[in-house]
Amino acid sequence: MGLLFFFSRVCLTREERVIPAKRELVKTLELTDLAIWTEARYTRHPSQADCFTPFQDSPSAFEHFPAGSILAPGRPADSTTTLQIRR
């Protein structure tokens, strides 16, 4: 376990050198999501998709992409924004 913790420290130090380059990439290209799930529009950019996007393909359509079942059901709405609009 001690060896593993030592290994993780070494990896973290190595990764800390790559993180600024990754952040530069995100900043320059204005990226918003990880390229993990490329199977559907709403899974490629989960932060940019609506909670109801999987069901938009046709009325009452069922989710059929496996990644859709991995993603958590919706994200909490920005309460500040909603409150200010209502006011």
Partner: protein, 384 residues
Amino acid sequence: MRRLKILEYALSSLLRRKYKNLSLVIVYALTISILASILFLTHALKQEAEAVFSDAPNLIVQKLFAGRHDLISTDDIHLIRKIPGVGDVHPRYWGYYFDALSQSNYTFMGIREGLPGLKLVEGQMPAEEGECTIGRGVARAQFTGLGDQLVLIDSRNKSVKFRIVGIFDAASNLLSNDLVLMTRKGIQKFFDFPSNRATDIVVEVYNPEEISTVAAKIRKMLPGTRPIAKDEIFRTYDSVFNWRSGMMLTLFSAALFAFSILAWDKATGISGAEKNEIGILKAVGWDTADILELKFWEGIVISFTALLGGLTAAFVHVFFFNAPLLTPVLKGWSVLFPTFRLTPYIDLYQVFVIALLTVAPYIACTVIPSWKAAVTDPEMVMRS
């Protein structure tokens, strides 16, 4: 001294039944390694997202039409720019492309001309209409490389050739695996964007505290739009890799269920030999408290050995071998799945939770049946 003697007896007792205990430790460690692998993998991915998206756009404004994402008018840029506290406002051009040949989806992005080269790009950024920079996944799917040509079918069903002037480094696979970068003019022409339309608008807000206020003003000013703040990116990845997400629930509950069966099997009774041993110990003068302490130490030795073994196996599985048993679950139907090496971010809180979830119930399951046997008359125990 007495405690040490009991511990010594517990170890020798475990060694007497070494094959049975070894098989128990292996099954126990495997269950823990499944639980720990899921926690290590999701935590590492969440940390990666948090680390790299801290420089993501402050605010992105999307247009909605009939409840669906639509192209936004670039005229809205002038309106947004007038909001106090707003800095640079510019359009983003991006879209998806399905490549029938490799049956995979690519993400196309149009970038501003004259962007400087990036550390994680081998070669250069596209500077002319017929140039592109691609991710490793695209290069692999198309069997192409730096200096080769990428042939794509545009929105008019005509084949278009792009010269590959750059390839993203493997270290950025998690961000760029399916990316095809081209110039803005290139992407506008390829997808036939209407002249005053863009995919969405990026808004820079000087003061991060004002992002939600600016978002509210944009919604009021342009009711058909949906502003997405940077916070929402973090919230999304937090909920995707949360314990309540589908992946965690499915795998985690299966592993916990397996562990429950193991603990239940242990709790429903102890073997005749063990009962006999307890009876003999009672007959030679051991107290019930001594027997409970003995069983407690036996439980501690087994569960901590299994915990250490399980955590080590999970660490090796996730960070040395890149979680080959879990990636098929993550992958789904994605043809272009990035090969990535995860940074071993370990949350000690999660390790304590695993320890608490597995060690405590196991020790309880060991001690309770032994206590039942220990409080019974030694003769009765030995006879049964």
